[in-house]
Subunit: 413 residues, 2 copies
């Protein structure tokens, strides 16, 4: 087994994938395997019983949004009875930030990898604070989701068509030169995205005031592009999956209870371990006591070579995840120790345009005792509250060890 | 004479100035002292005879635009006969990039310094390549100017009103955290600007297609915000001018033939010397042989503490001005040697959020033998061609020496 060759192929596929945002549609209509009684969620598989507070809150909110429940009790009954099923976003080519709950009537971005043909999906970003993905589900949260679905989604769908598509790999390459790292700091990428769609929004919206509202919502939200970016990274990582003999990680994802990874050469098996709690900076009124365990599919960004791995490009991010610009630089430098490649298209000016560390190699993680760096938002541990801060976290080493043992067994080493 | 105290006051005024884009109007209607037979231009005073190629080209184009000349011969006759007069933008509270020609019927941005009340002005940015400010004046150039004036300007005027104004100091502070330095790299600032105005453009444009065209023009031009930024820097520098005893530079400007400076404590006297030629990278098909002498009022950015002085924040700029990210860092570090203050609002993440070097002190320039660093576009030396590259340049030391002698005479030192 030539592992180096397998990893070179896997990372080549990851980097050459070119996901383009090509459309927007209802999850029920476009996400493979989506069905009326299904909710998608972040991370590896989870049950109601074991679900974290923010995951329970987001499931409740999604079922209220679908008109299937009125409160958390009804939501729990539906899920525990099996009338509503839960499956990971990642089982359906999708990735969702934080709780990552995608329900049938929610609109999702559709990305197509123009190099290898695979499609990937994510929902619309709601902005900051009291939002479904952080487990909030008050009337205010639901009303915003309804506005996004009824008003914004049709405008975006037409604008994306009219624009001819948005190349998210190119957008990310640009944003990494503008102080973003693509996970927790998407400030530049979000306005590149807004600017790119703005002419089409103005041209195709039903009326000027609606165009203005959508442009304001997208432009004011420094995370507008996070979801297309996550779907793009999902498309890249999927392209790298299934390479015989490869030890490259193709999924890292958390559901608030378990962290899970998949490995290119190890098929669809999840390797999981309990999540850690992020360390970081808290919004006024909150402390580390309030933090939920690590949650979200957004670690697909680190999996694809950006996010925490590209922090050297985003020194200003330390103002909200803590640390100093030097720490940000060191985070990236450390990640070269555990990766198989340097990215061909994602380069970092502060490191003389060196490519980002790309393709986590489980062998190196275990051998060097270095786990991946992750930038993340922090959810309140209780359902219904929302975001309380942002910070840094590492996945548990146990998953990588377990994966390496499985690799040795699978390939008879 | 307490020079330190005077410089502290001058730089305090420069940094506390808060120029807000409040409107757009025809130069003839809003620029103080503008008149029908006047053209404003970049740099210190100049005659037709001594004017550089790009300056002659821009003057010709402006007079064709005004319907007063049909070609360069007619333009020369008008200027040499005195029927058309030339005066620096800086004599009218304005600043114009490259040739910086502003004619009476051209629209200008109006900025108001909310701290000290002074107003400042600049024209609209035309984008790259064959453009008036680089001395091009073909039918294509003129047609674009007419579209900008007839279609874009009214839309922008209404949008700025509708937006309630754009705080350019705040925008710059944000852009410096997104890889801009505010002079040659305004990529982030330009999309922040476009995003900020987009809802108002969509809301107030006469029809959706016009809104789309204006949004595309602004969003595709990585220098859209350069002119509001220059006007903002002019407003800041003007606020620092006229402080008794101050040795801080309040204007640096070039007309393609002469470089000129003014000093806060030395009234309205220009100190001038022949310009150098920028060193840099050239567009395909052009070489250093094609370069005009240094030209433009855009050095008002360095005067106010950004541009070449903030290069540490913009490592990616080296891809178009030459050098390495380390050079960019060193450029900023060197400028601390010749400045009086560190900016309170313009901070640079790569230098641990240190304030940009602000307020060039002519004493330090002469004493240390260090002239200011300037990032600049490079015009073709012949009229009618346009931009040929971008690079770095330094102003001549002789001006600073002359200013220092004048200072000693004025204050009897």
């Amino acid at each position: 087994m030539d592992i180096e060759k397998a990893n070179a192929l896997a990372t080549e596929r990851m980097m050459e994938a070119r996901p383009v945002l090509v459309g927007l549609g209802k999850a029920i209509d476009v996400v493979p395997g989506m069905r009326e009684n299904l909710l998608l969620h972040a991370g590896p598989p989870i049950t109601w019983e074991r679900a974290s507070g923010p995951m329970k809150g987001a499931i409740t909110g999604a079922l209220i949004f679908e008109g299937k429940a009125r409160d958390m009790d009804e939501a729990r009954t539906l899920v525990e009875s099996g009338q509503i099923e839960l499956e990971p976003c990642h089982h359906h080519g999708a990735a969702g930030p934080m709780a990552g709950v995608i329900c049938p009537s929610m609109s999702v971005y559709i990305l197509e990898n123009k190099t290898h043909g695979n499609r990937s999906y994510s929902n619309l970003n709601e902005g900051y604070g009291k939002v479904l993905r952080y487990g909030a589900y008050s009337e205010e949260v639901l009303n915003k989701l309804r506005w996004m679905e009824d008003v914004m989604a049709p405008v975006l769908a037409r604008a994306i068509d009219d624009s001819g598509g948005v190349d998210i790999r190119a957008l990310l390459a640009e944003a990494l030169h503008m102080g973003d790292e693509g996970h927790n700091r998407n400030k530049a990428g979000s306005i590149v995205y807004t600017t790119r769609l703005a002419p089409s929004i103005a041209r195709t919206a039903p009326d000027p005031e609606t165009a203005a509202q959508v442009l304001k919502f997208l432009g004011d939200n420094a995370l507008s592009v996070l979801n297309p970016v996550m779907a793009a990274c999902k498309g890249m990582a999927d392209a790298a999956h299934g390479v015989e003999g490869s030890t490259v990680v193709t999924i890292m994802a958390r559901n608030g209870t378990d962290f899970g990874i998949r490995v290119s050469g190890l098929g669809d098996r999840w390797f999981t371990a309990p999540v850690a709690t992020p360390q970081g900076l808290y919004f006024p009124g909150f402390t580390a006591e309030d933090a939920s365990g690590d949650i979200g599919d957004s670690t697909i960004t680190e999996t694809a070579g950006i996010g925490g791995f590209a922090m050297a490009s985003a020194p200003a991010i330390v103002t909200f995840v803590s640390g100093t610009p030097r720490d940000a630089l060191n985070a990236t430098l450390e990640m070269y120790e555990i990766t198989a490649a340097e990215h061909k298209y994602f380069t970092m000016p502060p490191l003389d345009f060196r490519g980002t560390p790309t393709g986590i190699d489980i062998r190196k993680v275990v051998e060097k005792g270095i786990t991946p760096r992750v930038n993340t938002g922090i959810a309140h541990k209780d359902p219904g509250v929302g975001q309380v801060g942002a910070g840094l976290v590492r996945p548990p080493m146990a998953m990588f060890e377990e994966a390496l043992v499985a690799y040795a067994e699978t390939y008879g080493l």
